[in-house]
Amino acid sequence: MSGTLLAEVLTGGVRGGTSILFAALGETICERAGVVNLGTEGNMLMGAMTGYAVASITGNTWVGVAAGAAAGGALALLHAYFVLNRRTNQLATGLVLLFLALGVTSLFGVAYVKADIDAFQPVAVPGLSSLPFLGEIFFEQTVLTYLAYALVPALWWLLFRSRWGVVLRAAGERSEVLATYGYRVKPVQYLAVVAGGCLGGLGGAQLSTAYTNAWFENMTQGRGFIAVAVVIFAGRHPIKVAGGSLLFGAALALAPALQARGYSVNQFALDAVPYLLTIVVLVLLGKRESAQPPEGLQKVFEGSAVT
């Protein structure tokens, strides 16, 4: 099974990029509705720990994944309450909730470090997996990765082609207008933040139940922040977000693939490549009007409260 370097790196990119993709799609929904969740890393941790723990307790990995998504959503619900009801600073609240998640997951996760689960294994998609080159890269992955594939166009349609999407984006752009038309803004934003948190949790659960088959304290190692960065640099567009997530994954897969072939690498350069490459590519791709953040978000970054 010794494939080419390129195919191996891209396969690893899809595999490793899936958790970031889930979280980034979630953050896309959240930011489109005018709320930044810097605690995406925390949502992923909740999902990774809960997903692994519940999968081990129930013996059913799907139940674990569902629980992981719910746990990510629960943390996001707190975020929504604080920033929408209590009008706290969005950036600070996200970070505080990340630290909460870090503490909670390391406390309750200890019991599951040695637990065993029936982890997701790669499943070849009949037909598609025999496509030359692309088959092994995209269609010999786990079911959760296929779910992520499906979510990308679904979210695009939802945001840009459905009535829901118009309402959601209006909440993020200029919520006064939405209110004038008789919509209640807060429930829309609540829904967006919680849905985003669920996807972050799903990303974390993919990390623990499909990718690494393990739970360890702080195992997300900053992937939630990568997801937020990808969303921002990809202009909150689901297709570009998907590209950025997989690109980051591929850049991460480059180091071990090169090393296993005996190539000499520069530690610092290789550790920095994923970040630099992803940012450069997304900045180049994102130089269009669509990269403008929603008006509601601009207020967050300029320091005034979102109304």
């Binding site: 595999r15 990718y211 180091a255 090393q259 296993a260 520069n266």
Partner: protein, 398 residues
């Protein structure tokens, strides 16, 4: 009976700090701080007045949680062995003690409770341990893994095992098990201890299989399971059929190997249940005997001048190495086990060592000249390059 000394809460520390400021007359220093600023060493003789003599309590501080399935858990288990192995002793333990002056406070609390023997089990606990030892000449403070530079106070010492010895033996199991002659090593950083492990693993494998090569991939992180998964997959795709690691968290690589149907050599802990088919053997900490002996030595008033009152390093050649070989998996043949027994005898002998020269580095230069290297410290220090047979470069750090 064991009681826990909880880590003091931040609020308490803040209060203590306030109290010190309010006091402002200079007498509020902790004894350790006094000693650090003032005079220190008295030199008690052995016997009843010796440091640690007659202690009925012993304190252990750990940098991490006691359930990390690695370094800290092993140290914690050692502390529990002291409870069982030394009649009438009470064991105080504190987890998550940072390598700062907070460690001084935790140790002071233990001393206040009557402990006269303290184990500071993390590398970075040396500075706080030195302060506490200076402040309490009647208390024995031993530190795990670091080296005291200069004179060693009569109530201090460091101790550690020789990690690469069981790794060498595991390398023999790997060299016999491989069919592709490709072994994989997932490591974190190119530090001397890790390089010694990788070299020792390859030398062990090569001693029974001259074609065995070790392929190395680093993760630049002690515990990033996603990077570990990718590292293992990359190695496996290159045809590696035995994999091992030097990581803090070990289950991802172990499970990855098992599900790929290849063999795995463990590190830090016995993970044989995670790889019932592929598990060969491994290396793990077993501090019980050493801890018990240190405590007994101190309790009997014999600590000053003893081997523990120094930078004590123990390996097969000098005693019982606390880094031991894990149990064998089902696929290891009796033939291989006999080879390992034989090798263990050889490297335990006066003229034996995994690093018995001549040993060449990757670039053909001589890493170890003919003969047996001087001592354990020299060996670790000389492991700054990979030996011949290791495939892959050390990452450049600049």
């Amino acid at each position: 009976m064991s009681s826990r000394t909880p880590r003091p809460s931040r609020a308490l520390i803040a209060l203590a700090g306030l109290a010190m400021v309010a006091g402002a007359c200079g007498s509020n220093q902790t004894p350790a701080e006094k000693a650090a600023s003032g005079s220190g060493g008295s030199t008690p003789a052995t016997g009843a007045g010796a440091p640690g003599a007659g202690s009925t309590k012993v304190g252990f501080i750990f940098v991490g949680p006691k359930d990390d399935y690695g370094y800290n858990q092993a140290a914690y288990q050692g502390s529990q062995a002291v409870k069982a192995g030394v009649p009438g002793i009470e064991v105080l333990t504190a987890e998550n003690v940072p390598e700062t002056d907070e460690a001084v406070r935790v140790m002071e609390q233990m001393i206040d409770k009557g402990a006269k023997i303290i184990f500071a089990t993390s590398y970075g606990h040396l500075d706080p341990a030195t302060k506490v030892a200076a402040a309490h000449p009647d208390v024995v403070v031993v530190q795990q893994g670091n080296l005291i530079k200069g004179t060693v106070a009569s109530n201090m010492g460091t101790y550690f095992g020789t990690v690469y010895e069981p790794v060498y033996l595991a390398g023999i199991a790997a060299g016999k098990a491989t069919k592709s002659n490709k072994l994989g090593y997932v490591y974190a950083f190119p530090i001397p201890q890790t390089i010694a492990n990788i070299n020792s693993f390859e030398l062990g494998a090569k001693s029974v299989n001259k074609d065995a090569k070790t392929y190395v991939v680093n993760t630049s992180n002690w515990c990033d399971p996603a990077k570990q998964a990718e590292a293992a997959k990359s190695l496996i795709s290159q045809g590696v059929d035995v994999i091992t690691q030097h990581q803090d968290c070990t289950s991802t690589v172990t499970k990855e190997a098992e599900s790929a149907g290849i063999s795995v050599v463990g590190y830090h802990a016995d993970a044989s249940t995670l790889a019932p088919k592929g598990w060969l053997t491994g290396s793990e900490w077993k501090w019980d005997d050493l801890y018990v002996d240190i405590v007994k030595t101190a309790k009997d008033g014999k600590f000053p001048g003893s081997k523990y009152n120094a930078n004590y390093r123990v390996g097969y050649k000098t005693g019982t190495n606390p880094f031991v070989q894990s149990k064998y998996g089902p696929s290891v043949s009796d033939d291989t086990k006999a080879l390992i027994e034989k090798a263990k005898k050889e490297i335990s002998g006066a003229d034996g060592s995994p690093f018995k020269g001549p040993i060449k580095a990757q670039d053909g230069s001589e890493l170890f000249p003919a003969g047996v290297p001087a001592d354990y410290a020299t060996i670790e220090d000389k492991n700054k390059a990979f030996v011949e047979g290791v495939v892959g470069d050390m990452p450049k750090m600049n």
